[in-house]
């Protein structure tokens, strides 16, 4: 547990020092008052705060609504099918989603190209404010596209199979329409399982920089992007301001989570009253709401599809629906670079995930043997790195790691990735691990197996599928990390994420598409591998005519 608290504490601690004026680069301390005054006077601060808040809340609500409305109309079979569909979408890194979505919905994007000029009459892209709009609508859409598959996956896992169906049947037999039954009976059972993932989604929406950089408003941008520009200002004078702003961001996220918590309590009370009132609403509109979820999922798929197109485009002028010239030249030219970067990225992801799995298994096995399950405090600790704003954390780490002279070292890099990978791996594995029937272990002990052997020969094989899934999630998380890699690696460890951002500053859309595609492919591959290796073992078919 120290492993999770220490990084967050060290990051935020050094921020605090800087914001209080106790620590400043080049020894130019002006005292806390000046730093905060400077922050509050900074151009664009308050609009940036407002834009972060609206986009974070709106995207979370949108993704939640889409998830619930889709599931309200989904039977067991559709749910199984959905589970297979969204799992790979969850693995796609946010930057790749954002880039693909931008290529899709821009006025010169793929959708406009597909419709032009025959349907729209556009020979040139229209001057429409579709990306980077001041209201943050594109950012909200991008976040919702990114998060809906995640929430769906969590919800599907939380619903399980069968049990909800029985509850729904009872409600239906008591005269409730399908959607009403779902909201009155299934949702209350589901929500507790969605709670923490939702907090993570909200915190991510408030703190994201990758998605905001590509799709978010610009003048001013969201708070996270604004903080980054300050931290990167060459005059160095803005560093204390960035540190103070980071603390403000931490505060905002904490506040937002509290507001959400209050909101969910009130809605819960209203919902219980609604259910107890015994109305027989049909909620026909919820069907239309399910369409919203499908739209978001389709946009996610489209964003993935447009990436290979651009990476192979030789020349692709508006309004051609497909590239006029195809060219694999980019892949040939970038082959060696891509190969080495891919190797480094995969190595780092595998090392981090391996370490995370080891630690998770140690913790879980200890929990199993001692018989003491983790409490609520442990859940909070586990989620802490996912709730802390990434920009604030990275800035703080930069300072702390430099202090430890550890920037650019493998341990620092591994550690910075572990902070994000470990919670996801733990969350993915803990549930299935705790659900293993403890009597399997008892029975094995009585059959003569030692403690250690029970772990290796009983629990581990029983948890094979979730173990592999957790590994795939760990790899996906590691591959997507940009800021921690940049800060802890000192820029010396090129990964697909850092290369994608560095090259995106050159504006070559084909190159960016190729890197985003690779960044998406690595986790997808991990997921496919996990799925195929995690399939239940295939046994010889029962003999013909056997009575079973």
């Amino acid at each position: 547990m120290l492993l999770l608290v220490l990084p967050v504490a060290s990051g935020l601690g050094s921020l605090l020092l800087a914001a209080l004026g106790l620590w400043a680069p080049l020894g130019a301390t002006n005292g806390a008052a000046t730093v905060w005054q400077d922050l509050f006077d900074a151009p664009g601060l308050w609009p940036a705060v407002a834009r972060s808040l609206t986009s974070g809340f709106a995207a979370t609500l949108l993704a939640l609504a889409a998830t619930l409305l889709l599931l309200a109309g989904a039977g067991l079979r559709l749910r199984r099918w959905l589970g297979r569909l969204v799992a790979p979408l969850v693995a796609v890194p946010p930057l790749a989603v954002a880039v693909g979505l931008a290529f899709l919905i821009a006025p010169s994007g793929w959708i406009a190209r597909l419709l032009s000029p025959w349907a729209t009459g556009w020979q040139r892209p229209p001057d429409l404010l579709l990306l980077n709009d001041p209201a943050g609508l594109a950012l909200i859409l991008g976040l919702a596209v990114k998060e809906t598959p995640f929430l769906l996956l969590v919800a599907l896992a939380g619903l399980g199979e069968g049990e909800v169906e029985r509850r729904l049947l009872v409600a239906r037999s008591l005269g409730q329409g399908p959607a009403a039954a779902w909201f009155k009976v299934a949702l209350p059972a589901l929500y507790p399982k969605l709670r923490w993932p939702l907090y993570a989604v909200l915190a991510y929406g408030l703190g994201t920089y990758e998605v905001a950089l590509v799709l978010g408003p610009t003048q001013p941008p969201t708070l996270a992007v604004l903080l980054l520009t300050w931290a990167q200002d060459p005059s160095l004078a803005l560093w204390p301001r960035a540190a103070a702003g980071s603390l403000l961001q931490v505060l905002l996220v904490a506040l937002a989570l509290l507001v959400w918590r209050q909101g969910e309590r009130r809605l819960g009370r209203l919902g219980r009253a609604w259910a107890a009132r015994g109305g027989r609403g049909r909620l026909g509109w919820s069907r239309a709401g399910g369409g919203l979820a499908w739209l978001l999922l389709l946009l996610g798929l489209g964003a993935l599809l447009v990436l290979p197109l651009w990476s192979l485009a030789g020349q692709w002028r508006f309004p051609a629906a497909l590239p006029q010239l195809w060219s694999a030249e980019l892949w040939q030219r970038q082959g060696p670079l891509v190969a080495s970067t891919l190797g480094g990225t995969a190595l780092l992801a595998l090392a981090t995930t391996g370490l995370a799995l080891l630690l998770t298994l140690l913790a879980l096995e200890h929990e199993t043997l001692s018989g003491r399950p983790a409490g609520r405090g442990a859940t909070l600790l586990l989620y802490l790195p996912l709730l802390a704003p990434p920009v604030a954390l990275a800035l703080g780490w930069g300072a702390a790691l430099a202090g430890a002279r550890a920037i650019g070292s493998w341990p620092a890099l591994l550690w910075s990735h572990l902070v994000y990978v470990l919670p996801y791996v733990f969350i993915a594995l803990a549930g299935p691990w705790r659900r293993i029937d403890p009597r399997h272990a008892l029975s094995a002990r009585a059959l003569g197996l030692r403690r250690g052997a029970v772990f290796w020969r009983v629990r581990l094989p029983l948890a094979r599928a979730p173990l592999l899934a957790a590994a795939a999630i760990g790899i996906a998380v590691s591959v997507a990390l940009y800021l921690p890699t940049l800060v802890a690696g000192g820029g010396r460890f090129p990964t697909l994420a850092t290369e994608a951002v560095a090259l995106s500053s050159g504006g070559d859309r084909r190159l960016l598409a190729a890197l985003a595609l690779l960044q998406a492919l690595l986790p997808l591959l991990a997921f496919l591998l996990a799925l195929s290796l995690g399939r239940p073992r295939r046994f010889r078919r029962p003999p013909q005519g056997a009575i079973t």
Binding site: G371, D437, R439, H440, L442, S443, A444, R445, A446, L447, G448, L449, R450, R451, R457, V458, P461, L462, R464, P536, R537, F539, R540, P542, P543, A546, I547, T548
Partner: protein, 216 residues
């Protein structure tokens, strides 16, 4: 000290609270003793406690011996107490044959073929000759119960502890498995402790009954 399972003033405490009145036991080899009591009286926990499988919150009091030997200091895997639950708990990632192999102790110098032959012979004896390669999930409830029993017997137990082993079976199967257990217990001359909330089991097995009485 006599052969079989004997106990004096045996009691179980949970967080210091005694769960039932201390009891004395004597189960001879080849004999079945039925333990009954209301749910929550601690009868299942008593079996786990004998195996050494209960967490530290539970404490087993009193003295007990198997064939005159005090097992209390031994780890669970060295006590050789065959434990069977209501469900068969066959490992889903192993075939039926592998599930048996899982329990079968390795003899020094034994070849893989010889092991396989022993397993095949065991299956054949239980009318499961062709089931070695099968997925346990494809077995019927009765078959599963039989395999579970075989698995426990193969581990070379010195006593059998059964926790409601027939509760999940329909009446016809229940009788069949019950008879099988009784036959195996006699054949292997094992002392057998059986937990059930159904006193009728005693008559069917021709067993003595001890009722756990709640601490008053």
């Amino acid at each position: 000290m006599s052969a079989g399972l004997t106990a004096r003033a045996l009691a179980l405490r949970l967080d210091g609270r005694r769960l039932f009145r201390p009891l004395d036991l004597a189960v001879a080899p080849g004999e079945v003793l039925l333990l009954t009591g209301p749910s929550g009286s601690g009868k299942s926990s008593l079996l786990l406690a004998l195996c050494g499988l209960l967490p530290a919150r539970f404490q087993l009091e009193g003295d007990w011996w198997l064939d005159g030997q005090d097992l209390r200091g031994l780890p669970p895997e060295s006590r050789h107490l065959g434990l069977l639950f209501q469900e068969a708990l066959l490992l889903p990632h192993l075939t039926v044959g592998e599930n048996l192999g899982f329990a079968l102790p390795r003899r020094p110098g034994e070849t893989r073929q010889a092991r396989r032959a022993r397993i095949a012979a065991t299956l054949a004896e239980a009318q499961l000759a062709d089931y070695g390669e099968r997925d346990p999930a494809t077995l019927s409830g009765g078959q599963r119960a039989r395999v579970a029993l075989l698995r426990t017997l193969l581990s070379g137990p010195r006593a059998l502890l059964l926790d409601e082993p027939f509760a999940a079976l329909d009446p016809v199967l229940r009788a069949e498995i019950r008879a099988l257990v009784a036959a195996q217990v006699r054949r292997a001359a094992l002392p057998c402790l059986l937990v059930s909330h159904d006193p009728a089991e005693a008559a069917a097995l021709g067993a003595k009954t001890i009722k756990l009485l709640p601490e008053s």
